[in-house]
Symmetry: C2
Subunit: 446 residues, 2 copies
């Protein structure tokens, strides 16, 4: 494989390509993956990927067969029609829309016309299509909670859509902050179109919005004429087993576009997400269509359709559990509950009141934000990986800025209990060493 040196004669200049491609936002995912790749012996408290312990490739075969049997037996398709459904070009909005609508009814109290569902290549395409559609011109802005997963702001950047930040922390998103950001956008001459957020166990803060915050947010959306893009990948994993209603289930006037991900609840490798877009769109001639159909038009120019083969795998998984994704994830929900409890307890056992280390105590999900008594840059991450054999995520990657922070994110999702214990030992050793070098004397303990 040719190695690219600085002397290689260039064919193109990065400065001549899309400005987002040189953006730190788009390179930070690559950087974090690359660190993980360079230190294969390091234990990862960085990965937000789901736990692989219960996976079996035979389940993929079984799910595909089950979905095909469903087409044959429940839907009356001939063998040729089954083959066509799974292997040929197909419906732009997908082939498991009815199963997804049924899951939303069973598990989320969301009643939706299957025609309002567009099956996408993961959450990311659901977001990308939604933002594409909502951006009429460069004056259309997105309100986005920060800190947040880079894919959210990165998609807006690639689409040339300005992002107005909505500050958030361990206590969730305050509706008044969303209203303030909308007004700030208008003062800057922008049209705020939508606000994107994760109400349940957000990445990276782990925060959950209260019921009052949820209803307040819907009121703000109506008052400020905003759509809410609700992203819900972690809702099935509360610590105490109780769930709060999704924004979409509380939505009485179609203010919420619901962005679903099945990466954490089926397989990331299926790359199946979806968007529920039941908003009624008026066409110039007087006709009406669903926002979902507008998103499908955009999708036909981005990926044509979502691979029906992997839709079938997801469909089969749902069918095996009576259509309920919650039922399909009972074992996973227990695993993540134990893992988060273990992570929080483990931090408590290792960092006392005098350690200068504090952390959030989320009510569920995968993520804990940790404050340490020194600045956390990518250099500290490299050292932690190389010298201490443990990786985690510097929190500055979740902000649209390189300003150094004393914050990092730990994830409990991908390690076995024994590996998590070892990873925490290594992490404590790393933090203790760097804090001692810096001669930090913290004011208060965790």
């Amino acid at each position: 494989m040719p190695v690219l040196t600085d002397q290689a004669a260039p064919d193109l200049f990065l400065s001549g390509l899309h400005p987002a491609l040189g953006d730190g936002l788009l390179t930070s995912v690559t950087f974090l993956n690359e660190v993980a790749g360079r230190y294969p012996g390091a234990l990862s408290l960085a990965a937000g990927a789901p736990y692989e312990g219960g996976w079996d490739l035979e389940d993929v075969h079984a799910a595909l067969r089950r979905f095909c049997a469903h087409l044959r037996d429940d839907r009356g398709l001939s063998e040729a029609e089954v083959r066509r459904t799974v292997l040929q070009y197909g419906r732009t909005k997908g082939i498991v829309h009815e199963l997804i609508a049924r899951h939303l009814s069973l598990d989320e109290g969301i009643e939706v016309d299957p025609e309002a569902v567009v099956v996408t290549v993961g959450f990311q395409e659901a977001l990308f299509l939604s933002l594409s559609a909502l951006r009429r011109d460069p004056g259309d802005a997105l309100l986005a909670v920060v800190p947040a997963f880079v894919g959210l702001t990165g998609a807006a950047r690639l689409l040339g859509m300005p992002v107005v930040p909505v500050p958030s922390g361990p206590d969730g998103v305050e509706p008044a902050e969303v209203a303030r950001a909308a007004r700030e956008a208008r003062r800057a001459g922008l049209r705020p179109r939508a606000c994107c957020l994760v109400p349940d166990f957000a990445n990276p803060t782990g925060s959950r919005m209260s019921l009052a915050q949820r209803t307040g947010l819907l009121e703000v959306a109506a008052a400020e004429d905003l759509l809410i893009l609700e992203d819900n990948p972690y809702g099935f994993f509360p610590l105490d087993g109780t769930r709060l209603p999704t924004l979409k289930s509380l939505d009485r006037d179609r203010r919420v576009v619901y962005l679903g991900s099945l990466a954490k609840t089926v397989y990331p490798g299926a790359r199946i997400g979806y968007v529920v877009a039941d908003q009624v769109v008026a066409a110039p001639g007087g006709g009406r269509l669903l926002l979902a159909d507008c998103l499908a038009r955009a999708k036909s120019m981005v990926t044509v359709n979502t691979p029906p083969i992997t839709q079938a795998v997801v469909g089969g998984r749902l069918l095996a559990h009576g259509g309920s994704l919650a039922a399909a994830n009972r074992r996973e929900a227990r695993f993540y509950r134990d893992a988060l409890t273990h992570l929080l307890d483990g931090l408590g056992r290792r960092f006392g009141p005098g350690s200068g280390v504090r952390w959030t105590r989320p009510a569920g999900g995968f993520f804990v934000t940790v404050e340490v008594p020194f600045e956390v840059t990518d250099t500290e991450l490299e050292r932690s990986a190389g010298e201490f054999g443990v990786i985690w995520s510097p929190l500055h990657h979740f902000y649209d800025s390189a300003a150094p922070l004393r914050l990092l994110r730990l994830s409990c999702s991908s390690l076995s209990p024994a590996d998590a214990e070892a990873a925490l030992d290594r992490f404590a050793s790393f933090v203790g060493t760097v804090a001692a070098e810096n001669g930090q004397r913290p004011a208060a303990g965790g």
Copy 2:
């Protein structure tokens, strides 16, 4: 399911969404599919979809198993690593890049570093990412051969990228026309960045560029500082079994970005395409990266990665044939050769010199363009579907204009020989009826 009436209170206005969503270009695919759906009894000479006759769902299972065995036996992965590769989040540029590079070497004489390959969700995402990257600002234009598949100009439209047409016909694309379009773009204050075309058996003209046209095009690309986006879905299906070299295999100075589709050669339902982007990009700080890595950054914001499950299916199919896609498609190549011969002969038997019907005689691929002695609008298509039970594609859908043409496209790819024969009978009956009603007296026959 709720029916949307014109009286439904709208939540949004189409005029407030992305302008491309109301565009005829983006709705024409939907329209054509919808006609097919409304007349299920109609035989389709419209669909460019591959023939399903030889498909077997068990082959999907076998291909997935074969790829996993390859990871295990040839690449030495553990069971856990195999599961992770196929089911977990993974490499943005894909997991079958080495198999695709090997196929390109074996079948196309294209020698390429696997790191320059990005596996995408079909050809469409390969195109979309390439255009995204090449569009720095609204002054960056695409040169596109017309008539062409709507996905090509539709993607540019969604990205807000102006398209400068390069006229083409049954005799391929003249390099001088590309140069002329580049200069026209510059006169209009635009920067022509790339020219997108299908050198082999283009859709809808069926034309194949000669070797002289190919080398001439590469010279024009160098002289006008253009990239060539080469789309090659039909190259394996020449009538006489002989192939001309791809532009990429003739490319000596990395002018060609090669856009691959496996929809016609494996399954559309796998949604696997790829882009070969070996261009060297100079970063502002003095570093170098491959254009493929820039496309991967964009991809991480659009679909994150291509489903490894369906990559594995495609990988398994390649492995079953020694890595050669040509070998994997021997049966299909024979089928399409016979189908195109049958279509051309069938037209000859039905439309004599006095019929006023003429058609192209492509050297391969799926498509024949037919001129009829009356204007062909969507109304004629509706009538053909409803009264005569046969559908085809009005050629105006391949132009960025609603101007009526006397042209339509027939495809030979998806019908069995018996159905194709019946479809041609119905088509002849439709043409004869409408021509007689119009009282047309043509000047020359086909």
